[in-house]
């Protein structure tokens, strides 16, 4: 009897250990060392590269398809395993069944571009993509192809050179995204199925399935933005409810913001943990505890219990119309940074970065203190580049009026807007003369142009 009890205890203990091990098991092997050096292609670099490519193609059909690109919907998406971003430009002709996008990435200092096509099966649903994925060079040469079922890659396509040759001779044309999978041989993927595509493999720069089996480093892309698997591509999950001037400036910031802005907004793209809803309201009014009415430029609200994945931003139309275009842009950026801080603090992913950021937040005491200490320099650079490259007319007027180009100190003074009023530590630590200089420079923003450079 004693022996039997011991044996039962052993069985239960083994069961407990097994259960614990299942609970703690991690699905993904984290990468060790990257294979190739990859870098983000900025929006401007992407546009220049594609314009240059257009001029170099002799085939008219290719040029015509490149004209079909929606540069205003250019986005930069996360590459898992790297802090660099994949630049993505969709085609205007995209439908529910066929989605074509140009992907750009600098690999070993050279800009690489491919056309990435997704053909959905009839039973494909939005959450879990079923269908075929192909990457082609800009001249239409097949690079790689995969088959996905319910968001998971289950097969890979290889070129059938004989069929391909015959087809090319018959068609006599080379166009983007045109090679039918009939010309390809398909193999079933063995081993661990993948929920993402290898970002380098799409460009033909690495061997996808070797990486998964060995557990060595790979850069993966969600090809539609899913943590749970490949999804039908969706646009950036920043719900734009803005109107008028704010809408114009926000859309310019989304399209032409510098790398800092693009990286920040990429955190909310696709099937991210958090989405942003940014809306215009006539006036953002709040009452303080004493009942005094206060008007704000904008505000960010997060109600974790009602909608844990949505961060709401309200932008005051009345204030925005009153401000210079650059200052109104600063307000939008300021609120986006609040959203980014909320994303970092409130994430439900128990990652070391989140714990570390919570400690930083404690150190600076509040969001404005954290923004002043960690984001001010990036805000300054973002405003500087936006002024020079997007509000160019205004930039030239400033230069002519003051007989000097706007200094870094001017943009820093602008970035302090909404922060210095909170008397954050970084502001209090500044010497009095520096504070006076910032206030003086910030007043120059009043003279800047209020008009936003949108035609309607």
């Amino acid at each position: 009897m004693k022996w039997k009890t011991k044996s039962h205890i052993k069985v239960i203990m083994i069961l407990c250990i097994a259960l614990l091990m299942f609970d703690c098991q991690n699905d993904e092997n984290l990468p060790d060392e990257p294979q190739n050096k990859i870098e983000t292609v900025t929006s401007d670099e992407a546009k220049n590269f594609l314009m240059h490519s257009r001029n170099n193609f002799s085939v008219k059909s290719v040029n015509k398809e490149l004209e079909n690109l929606e540069f205003n919907k250019i986005s930069q998406e996360k590459i898992n395993g790297s802090d660099q971003l994949l630049t993505v430009i969709p085609f205007a002709s995209n439908s529910n069944h066929e989605n074509n996008r140009i992907l750009l990435l600098k690999i070993d200092n050279e800009i690489k571009s491919v056309v990435f096509s997704m053909y959905a099966d009839e039973d494909s649903d939005k959450g879990n993509f079923s269908g075929k994925l192909f990457s082609y060079s800009l001249d239409g040469t097949f690079i790689n192809g995969f088959r996905a079922k319910d968001g998971i890659i289950i097969g890979q396509f290889f070129e059938n050179s004989i069929a391909l040759k015959n087809n090319m001779e018959n068609e006599k044309t080379s166009t983007l995204t045109r090679k039918s999978p009939i010309q390809l041989n398909e193999v079933v993927v063995k081993g661990k199925p993948s929920k993402t595509v290898d970002a380098l493999d799409v460009f033909g720069a690495s061997g996808m399935f070797n990486d998964f089996d060995s557990g060595s480093t790979y850069y993966s892309w969600d090809a539609g933005g899913g943590y749970a698997g490949i999804t039908t591509p969706t646009s950036m999950e920043i719900i734009d409810g803005l109107t008028g001037k704010s809408k114009c400036l926000n859309s310019l910031l989304n399209q032409n913001g510098n790398l800092f802005v693009q990286k920040l907004l990429a955190n909310f793209s696709g099937k991210s943990e958090f989405d942003i809803k940014i809306s215009s309201v006539d006036k953002v009014m709040v009452k303080d505890a004493q009942g005094n009415l206060i008007e704000l430029n904008g505000e960010t609200t997060y109600t974790s219990k009602i909608n844990p994945s949505l961060i709401n931003i309200s932008i005051s139309t009345s204030r925005s119309n009153d401000q210079s275009a650059l200052d109104a842009t600063r307000t939008i950026l300021h609120e986006y940074i609040h959203a980014d801080i909320i994303r970092k603090l409130y994430t439900r992913n128990n990652i070391p970065e989140a714990l570390a950021f919570n400690k930083v937040y404690e150190k600076y005491g509040n969001q404005h203190g954290t923004m002043a200490a960690l984001y001010l320099s990036s805000m300054k650079e973002a405003l500087k580049e936006f002024h020079k490259n997007v509000l160019t007319e205004d930039y030239i007027k400033y230069t002519n009026y003051y007989d000097e180009a706007p200094s870094d100190a001017f943009y820093e003074a602008l970035a302090w807007g909404g922060l210095k009023e909170s008397n954050v530590k970084a502001w209090e630590d500044l010497p009095a003369d520096k504070k006076a200089e910032i206030d003086k420079l910030a007043n120059r923003a009043i003279l800047l142009s209020k008009a936003a450079p949108c035609s309607n």
């Binding site: 039997k4 044996s7 039962h8 069985v11 239960i12 069961l15 259960l19 709040v286 009452k287 303080d288 505890a289 009942g291 206060i294 704000l296 430029n297 904008g298 505000e299 960010t300 609200t301 997060y302 109600t303 974790s304 219990k305 009602i306 844990p308 609040h338 909320i342 603090l345 409130y346 919570n358 937040y361 404690e362 150190k363 005491g365 509040n366 969001q367 404005h368 909404g418 009023e421 909170s422």
Partner: protein
Amino acid sequence: MNIKFTLIIYFLFFINALKAQDKVKDTLFFKLDNYLYQLKFDSKQYIIKDNYNIKDGAIYFETFKIVTTAKPKEILCFRKYAKTANLYMINNPKQLNDVKVSKLFDNYIIILISKKNKQTTYTEVGPVFRIE
């Protein structure tokens, strides 16, 4: 062998029952006082003293619904509870850490108890963070 098998089955049921229990949220009842109180100018908001400055970041409770419930076994004082649960900023004993408040209270049903004219109202609320 049969006993062993039965034990394993019992054990699995036990684990399952434990996991199922985890999913039911407990309820915390808080009384209103001069630290946690209804905002005069917006009856749907319940604010916490020293933590309602939207310019610096406010954390407050918003009404979800009025509920009917059995008399609570324990009614808590928010100030004491927040201190015990370490919900304040390390460098500022008056300021609540909005992240800690939200993350903790997301795991509970929060009910605020107000008494007016001998009538008790139970209001289910949730935390809101708001900043300029």
